[in-house]
Subunit: 498 residues, 2 copies
């Protein structure tokens, strides 16, 4: 019977009286670790609790609590009177694993089996990483967080938490909180000409989840998808993650070029478009083109995702009604988000599915993550129903128009001849053009060195870009920051063209 | 030049002065619909705005606004002075589609192409539907919503909304809000013996999303997965939705029977277990079995999901530390949720990934839905860091122990001889046994007829169940409702045997 070598008690002596971790827990951890590391071998006899307590300068209860836990977990065995032993039946493999703890380095080499999808995901540059945490001049897609209705949200949230009916705290409908679905259906009908019932509206965690659910329901690995080129990176990522083959289709003045796409690959299951305000070019798809695409999709048994991500913000002309409103054959999955109208952090959006696809989408949502947080949905419902939403959109529309004008003036003043910027009728960013021969990736890099975000157009291209340009988001940037940002760009690009 | 038949103006006359929809919009909709339905043919000349205004009894501005919109959208063409015409270039297909609107019935027949996964999803009984909206006696898995800290959450939420830093409103880290990840890593280390750094903690939208992300990263279609039988339906659904072949593995007194599983199918990629408190049987996996499973998984290059869904609630004995803490080879993906500790509606949980899998999981989350709502994460962080979380768990532990005792007494009083119920050391429900020969599905159905939820054990089984039993959730049921529920069961089952 090998007695516990006193040398081995030294690590156990390392009890930290000042730690927030209770002493018995520290002792338990120390003993357990010593057993698992093989520093105390199976069958070893432990000192009597009283002796160990004295040795460690702790109460006997402390030692007994630690022992109890180790007994409960099967590390120790023994009978009262006969002393306490380390369990003899612990598998060797574990004990000889030693004190090694996991590290990415240690594991990386071992070529561990991810799924094909997992391996692809591990290699995917996360589509949000570029935007993550980016605020200030000139991050695209970020609303005016400085003008966010904090106080209103605080009041609405507190009111909901204080007057919550029980069923709102249980599991909810995967399709979403019904009053929110009603409010969205009404809004879309009136403001966007979307034809749908509330049953067709499914609440999602932003348009990214809308894309993911659509890919799950409609795509199998290897299916072909048309995407506008240049186009939205988040969509490309989600579609590729679903195993789709993404075919870039060029744009013309009327939007996605159906004829060109048809020439490249007509065996298409899904077409992703942003017809109201193409991302990132801002082209509005013409009515004739919309009708042509719908006709084509119906004829080729293909689906259409209409991503209507920022249609709320139009400063000139009249917004075209949604393409979904023209759809007679149930080909269109319509996506909208509150990320641009309110803020990305809220993670709420909606998907309008053709009636016969609703059940599949609801099942996909339920199995993906059950449903969106109910309180968030309830608070947003109040925000819409009580008129804050419409008011906020009006305020932002005026604010963004003003900020776009400030940006245009600053560019005219500081960057004339270097950057070609035209007023945009809609949206939250400008697509500006660099002189021919200037590499937009290089320009973006220089800008970044001067602390300015100016994503290069080519980053949104799958095929070779036709022209060199950068995106400048203005919606989320305060006037003085717009001025400062443009000055920085001028400095950054001073030596850009020899 | 065919003039617009006056007969056709009648539908346009149907303007509702009392409607909240502006008159110009009603007129726009009416004309647009008439054009799309082919009731007004391409090339048809529309009446002059003044004449139409008079005919409709509206202001000329109203008519002009409607026309402007239709011009903008390309439905109308013409020059000032030369009158207004319906665009000649509208494709016939659309125009002859007539006024048909989509309906599920109309589309269902057409055998539309979903993906294989989509078709399977459409046929999947949604795992949440059984629980959805279920509260009261004896819905399992529902915490004591009546004891929820509404006031605290209201205060914390309002405080966060009022003092929000800008970057919290932009796009966040897909892995989650860092302070929350820190708080969870600390909690898991101290309370569950989980060995992880905050970098390994990924915030998910409840354990369902944790399962879904794990399936994406680690499973390809057709891969074999072991699951405890009986087991958690939500897990089975998520794993099957990922295309996995789910192999039921029987349980014994020590938990999942590794030897039996190995005999059935050893070519396994993933093993799903609930070792702390097996769902729904309540078995705790022994230390020896845990070590054996880890050794087996390492040897067979398989992954393990440890779903630690309700380990906070233990009333007798000591909780075993998490299996993840024994893992030396990075085989375990550890899942936890706040659905049981707080409420399902909050939709927040966590996943602890082996260090070398973190990037893949983060990418999967980013492409699935970017990240969890930031405010919710911040509020929960405050709830934990300020001590409300630990206090709430202590309160609930006492409350649930009391409710379990009340349920056991009531069963003893009302159902002795009919229902065999033993005290459970942990969890939120009792698994109670019916006399041999009594079909638990039938018993559950009778109970439902009396307004009582008593899910049959066989519903959780893949293989044939060994014994007939029902689950009775008590955590979310108030004492008087427990008493009443048991009386109802007695009435419902009076004629069940004999």
């Amino acid at each position: 019977m090998n007695k516990l070598p006193t040398a081995l008690t030294s690590p156990l002596l390392a009890l930290d009286q000042s730690s927030t971790t209770p002493l018995y827990r520290q002792l338990y951890d120390g003993l357990r670790q010593a057993i698992l590391d093989g520093r105390i071998v199976p069958g070893a006899r432990l000192p009597a609790t009283r002796a160990l307590a004295t040795e460690l300068g702790v109460s006997r209860n402390t030692v007994m609590s630690a022992f109890d836990q180790l007994f409960a977990e099967g590390y120790l065995e023994g009978r009262v009177g006969d002393g306490t032993y380390v369990t003899r039946t612990l598998p060797d493999t574990l004990l000889h694993a030693g004190a090694t703890t996991m590290s990415a380095v240690a594991l990386q080499g071992t070529g561990r089996r991810l799924s094909r999808r997992g391996a692809m995901l591990a290699a995917t540059p996360v589509s949000t990483s570029r935007e993550r945490g980016q605020v200030g001049a000139f991050a695209p897609g970020i609303p005016a967080i400085d003008a966010f209705p904090f106080e209103t949200m605080a009041t609405l949230a507190a009111r909901r938490w204080r007057n919550l009916s029980s069923e709102l705290l249980g599991y909810g409908d995967p399709a979403g909180y019904r009053p929110l679905r009603d409010a969205i259906a009404a809004y879309l009908g009136a403001a966007r000409g979307v034809r749908c019932s509330a049953e067709q509206v499914i609440i999602v965690g932003g348009s990214q989840q809308g894309l993911d659910l659509t890919a799950r329901v409609l795509l199998d690995s290897g299916n072909v998808v048309w995407m506008e080129d240049p186009g939205y990176l988040g969509a490309r990522g989600a579609l590729r993650a679903a195993g789709a083959e993404v075919i870039p289709v060029p744009l013309d003045a009327e939007g996605l070029d159906v004829v060109a796409g048809n020439a490249r690959n007509a065996a298409v299951r899904l077409v992703y478009i942003t017809p109201s305000h193409q991302y990132p070019t801002g082209v509005t798809m013409s009515l004739t083109r919309r009708l042509a695409l719908l006709e084509w999709a119906t004829h080729h048994d293909a689906w259409i995702i209409e991503d209507d991500y920022d249609s709320e913000y139009r400063y000139a002309g009249r917004p075209l009604a949604a393409l979904q409103g023209l759809d007679r054959t149930g080909r269109v999955i319509y996506l909208g988000t509150f990320s641009k109208v309110l803020c990305p952090a809220i993670r709420l959006g909606y998907l309008v599915a053709p009636p016969d696809l609703v059940d599949a989408f609801v099942a996909a949502r339920a199995l993906a993550d059950r449903h969106a947080p109910t309180i968030d949905q309830a608070v947003l419902t109040d925000f819409i129903v009580e008129g804050h939403f419409a008011r906020h959109i009006r305020r932002m529309r005026a604010l963004y128009a003003e900020r776009q004008a400030i940006l245009l003036e600053a560019i005219e003043r500081e960057l004339s001849g270097l950057l070609d910027a035209r007023p945009a009728e809609a949206g939250m960013h400008l697509l500006t053009w660099l002189p021919d021969g200037i590499n937009d990736q290089l320009a973006a890099q220089r800008a970044a060195e001067y602390g300015v975000i100016a994503p290069p157009l080519s980053a949104y291209n799958l095929a070779a870009p036709l022209r060199s340009g950068v995106l400048l988001g203005y919606a989320g940037v305060k006037p003085h920051a717009i001025e400062a940002g443009v000055k920085q760009l001028a400095a950054a690009w001073a030596k850009l063209c020899g």
